[in-house]
């Protein structure tokens, strides 16, 4: 009884810490978003609140809370309130299965798994929750009783559904490689530098593009496209309800970065792990691993911002065309390619470099083939018009 309660306390502290880290990162993402935007436009960004403007998120939060919390008269009041809550809830739930670290030895034979919960269908949990996330947007947009909000919500829903297909297909290749749906197992297979990115270059590109779409980030931020839809699904929102929507977007960014680190970049694996274990002991190495996951996730958050301030948004038909006619066939090809490479290297006795070479060669051959094919199509079309 004593042991379980200690373990329970430790787990509770871990969950609280992850919760705090997630919220803290999301808070400071709003600040870094503005800083990154400013730097890329040769400006300096917010620098008034505190040194380098580091208290800017506080000021923003105070502003958000102080504003009038407005609910439109003709709106569905309860759904209007439920929308942002649902968005926030689903955004925070995803981190439960992300393994932020290996097992920590607390002494007295107590082993703390640095993961919220190791369910054996971990990656399906992520997918399920991410799919639920669109309900927050949809309910909010519907309850606003505003056509722009509704259009934004519909766009969000159809976009998320479309890109979940390609995302799921790109995951299948990962599942084939690791043979497990558990995020913990997926990470363990990748230890000692066998990161999935080496075996899944195409799968990663598909996944990151889909992640942009799932997070409603530029270039796929059509649900909140100002030029067409005023504010999209959060047109009618103000005060902290709007804050919740924006906040959940940043949480989603961080979590999808963590998921990408888990699936493709070895999770808590980092170079020099064995050296650290030998020199400073296992616990230090595990804690550094936690830092590695969060660092990788933050790199992805930066990439999200970098892309946002580089390219304009897609047109809606381009978005749908890319999703259905571009990414889904590519993801299917990726599954076939992964299967083929696994089949051909099954007799090599786990010689990884051949697998890596095979994966990259497959992608290169596909690109060359597609280039020739499109060239041929172009010539045919030219002959037809001439």
């Amino acid at each position: 009884m004593e042991i379980t309660s200690t373990l329970f306390t430790a787990k509770a502290i871990y969950v609280g810490a992850i919760f705090a880290v997630t919220l803290g990162v999301a808070t400071y993402s709003t600040y870094f978003e503005r800083i990154v935007a400013a730097f890329m436009q040769d400006r300096v960004g917010p620098d008034r609140a505190g040194p380098f403007g580091i208290f800017q998120p506080l000021a923003d939060a105070v502003k958000m809370f102080m504003k009038e919390d407005f609910i439109p008269a003709q709106s569905d009041k309860w759904l209007f309130i439920a929308g942002p809550c649902l968005s926030m809830l689903t955004a925070l739930m995803t981190s439960a299965v992300v393994p932020f670290g290996d097992t920590l030895d607390l002494g007295n034979g107590l082993m703390l798994d640095l993961q919220g919960i190791d369910v054996n269908i971990g990656i399906l949990w992520v997918f399920g929750i991410v799919s639920l996330g669109v309900y927050g947007v949809l309910i909010g947009g519907w309850a606003s009783n505003n056509k722009f909000a509704l259009i934004g919500a519909i766009r969000a829903a159809s976009q998320n559904i479309s890109y979940e297909l390609a995302m799921g297909l790109s995951i299948i290749a990962i599942l084939m490689l690791s043979g497990s749906l558990s995020t913990k197992n997926i990470v363990e297979v990748q230890q000692n530098g066998h990161w999935n990115i080496l075996y899944q270059p195409l799968g990663f590109v598909i996944f990151i593009v889909c992640a942009f779409a799932e997070c409603n980030r530029t270039p796929f931020d059509l649900p909140e496209c100002e030029t067409e839809l005023i504010g999209g699904y959060h047109t009618e929102y103000s005060s902290m309800k709007l804050g919740f929507y924006l906040f959940s977007e940043y949480i989603n960014m961080f979590i999808s970065g963590a998921v990408m680190a888990t699936l493709y970049f070895g999770g808590y694996d980092y170079p020099g792990h064995d050296f650290i274990v030998g020199k400073f002991g296992n616990n230090i190495a595990v804690l550094l691993g936690v830092g590695a996951v969060i660092g990788k996730a933050l790199v992805f958050v930066f990439i999200f911002m970098w892309v946002r301030w580089t390219i304009p948004r897609f047109r809606y038909d381009q978005l749908m065309g890319l999703g259905w006619t571009g990414l889904i066939p590519l993801a299917m090809f990726n599954v076939v390619l992964t299967g083929a490479v696994m089949l051909f290297t099954v007799n090599e006795g786990g010689s990884n470099w051949i697998t890596v070479a095979g994966s990259w060669a497959g992608v290169a051959i596909m690109l060359v083939f597609m280039a020739f094919y499109s060239q041929a199509q172009y010539k045919k079309k030219k002959l037809a018009t001439a």
């Binding site: 990154v36 730097f39 890329m40 436009q41 040769d42 400006r43 300096v44 620098d47 590109v205 970098w306 892309v307 301030w309 580089t310 390219i311 890319l322 571009g326 597609m370 280039a371 499109s374 060239q375 172009y378 079309k381």
Partner: protein, 172 residues
């Protein structure tokens, strides 16, 4: 109808394969933004960092003294006449014996006031002055005022301090 031979018919061909998969262009664009990320920022953080506005900027008024420290102004009133905003007013007085080191000529302005709310910083007073007494400084702005009682600047604020003389670019 073709008016000139300058028009160019734009031949917009089919997108190439590299253009159609977007990624090369996106990577190129990201390279551009990353270059700007590390480039020098053009922002001037205003209250801490002030930009040089040039030798012709018209800022805070100053009533010059001559080399001996005597006020140049003779209260002729030409600046007040020239002023389109009627911001300048003055009271003339006669120089007493023993005040030669204070005022350059026999007549001087005992009161000289500029209403900074009226002033439009046109510089016409500067041009009108026959004694080179009034100038608009190129390197000093009139500070922000918080109350109407602060807007009228008397001689205490306008007359040049001998320990901090005003020198414009090109003057000796």
């Amino acid at each position: 109808m073709k008016l000139s031979n300058k028009t160019k018919v734009l031949e917009q061909g089919e997108m190439t394969f590299a253009e159609r998969i977007y990624l090369p262009a996106i990577v190129g664009g990201m390279g551009t933004t990353l270059k700007h990320f590390f480039s020098k920022k053009v922002t001037i953080r205003y209250p801490e960092e002030k930009r040089y506005l040039g030798p012709v900027f018209r800022g805070h008024h100053i009533l010059k003294r001559d080399e001996e420290g005597a006020e140049r102004c003779t209260a002729c009133g030409l600046c007040a006449v020239a002023c389109p905003a009627e911001a300048i007013s003055m009271v003339a007085d006669e120089r007493k014996k023993g005040e030669e080191h204070l005022y350059r000529e026999e007549k001087y302005a005992s009161v000289y006031e500029v209403n900074m709310l009226r002033c439009i910083f046109c510089g016409l007073c500067e041009e009108a002055c026959p004694k080179q007494a009034i100038y608009l400084q190129h390197d000093k702005m009139v500070p922000v005022f918080e109350d109407r009682s602060q807007v009228i600047y008397g001689k205490d604020k306008l007359v040049e301090k001998m320990d901090n003389r005003y020198l414009r670019e090109g003057w000796k």
